[in-house]
Symmetry: C2
Subunit: 243 residues, 2 copies
């Protein structure tokens, strides 16, 4: 059976996953495109159902699937030129808990594409525990896309600054901030938490107050700052001793 109407309740529910309110109601998010769906399945994410366009003829992974007409499928997807396959995936709910290795704390980052790109880099650089305090939702379409499959692999934990600082109690906190010491000459301990603030306003007073050391990226005097994702990437790699 092919669902054609954009007014169909399931189509409306799937389309609502573009918004945080919709994702909160269902506890799921949408993963779009061949590659991302394949990675979501391979990484062991809990897939509720595939969402397929009527002309889709590819792999179905033995998963339950719903088939939509062109218009209904387009209404569900956030991509401008969707590929004919998407998956509704359960948001991995994790309570804020101590990290397993070195970890990353994002403090107030509002740009979903930056949050996603940073999660992508965090997995690559071996910062699997990613704490988010007051950030853009990592399960929004923009963030999921920018993360590539990062949101499937990272242990994302969202909470208040207080909850997160309490979970990482005892761990050295390395804060990224203007005027800190040169990150390239700083010798990092084996385990630590790197705290990165927003591009506009930096770290919150609470997180800054908990810092054991402050590091910065040396920059030409004419440059005030770097893009938040670029900056987080440089810091993560500069601090990591080995992968």
């Amino acid at each position: 059976m092919i669902i054609l109407s954009k007014q169909n309740p399931l189509v409306k529910e799937l389309a609502s996953l573009k918004e945080k309110k919709g994702r909160r109601r269902t506890g799921t998010f949408l993963v779009e495109g061949h590659k991302m769906v394949r990675e979501a399945v391979a990484s062991g994410m809990d897939v509720v159902r595939l969402v397929l366009r009527e002309d889709y003829a590819g792999e179905r992974y033995g998963l339950p699937a719903v088939v939509l007409g062109q218009d209904a499928f387009a209404a569900v997807c956030d991509e401008k030129t969707p590929q004919g396959i998407a998956a509704e995936v359960v948001i991995p709910e994790r309570s804020v808990q101590p990290p397993q290795g070195r970890c990353l704390l994002l403090d107030g980052l509002q740009d979903p594409a930056n949050v996603g790109a940073i999660i992508r880099t965090a997995v690559a650089a071996g910062y699997e525990d990613v704490y988010l305090a007051g950030c853009a939702d990592p399960f929004s379409p923009k963030s999921v896309r920018a993360s590539m499959s990062g949101v499937f692999f990272a242990r994302i934990m969202q909470g208040t600054q207080e909850e997160i600082l309490s979970a990482i109690a005892g761990l050295p906190v390395i804060a990224a901030d203007m005027g800190g010491e040169d990150v390239f000459s700083y010798a990092a301990p084996e385990k630590f938490c790197l705290a990165v603030g927003s591009e506009g306003s930096g770290l919150s007073a609470l997180v800054r107050g908990r810092a054991d050391v402050t590091v910065c990226i040396p920059m030409d005097a004419r440059t005030e700052s770097l893009n938040a994702a670029v900056s987080a990437g440089i810091l993560m790699y500069a601090l990591r001793t080995k992968i």
Copy 2:
């Protein structure tokens, strides 16, 4: 005099600067917002005129200015919530010539926001000579915005792969590519050209063929790649010896 009509020839010409065709016709691009205009003036860019919204009451830098009504100003700007000031600035035309120090070659990068963010990082990290071959236009609104004031400070040179490779003849070329040696253990020479390809297809055969060494960013096995701007930023900082 306040120009109210969006059909006014000057308003139409300014609005055309959003497109490459328009910029090519006038040889200028538009810089939007208080901070970017201030930096353009301070950096010595050749400003043709300020473009002001009728309610603008700030600094005019002793420059010629045209004042537009709300609608006409909105039609000219690319920003969703423009700040009331923009500047039409002459595109610095540079012939492709040898670099002054270490330099960066972007090969086929199509995302304007990535091109801009990379130029921003290049200035910060001391790669002032930036060669672009087959890339998105660095003077598009998205790229200019992402570069912050990077496009004012970098020596941007656009040309074919052949022209650029000929200009950097004799300089060691460090190519970024999968399977290269770990950039963090590679000892870079004092002067070199870092060549970075597109996120999708990497370096062109021509540039890859000219590489003296290939380096890569070590990554967790589950990660295939990083965002192009993040990756270029990590590479530039890993290779630079001092600023």
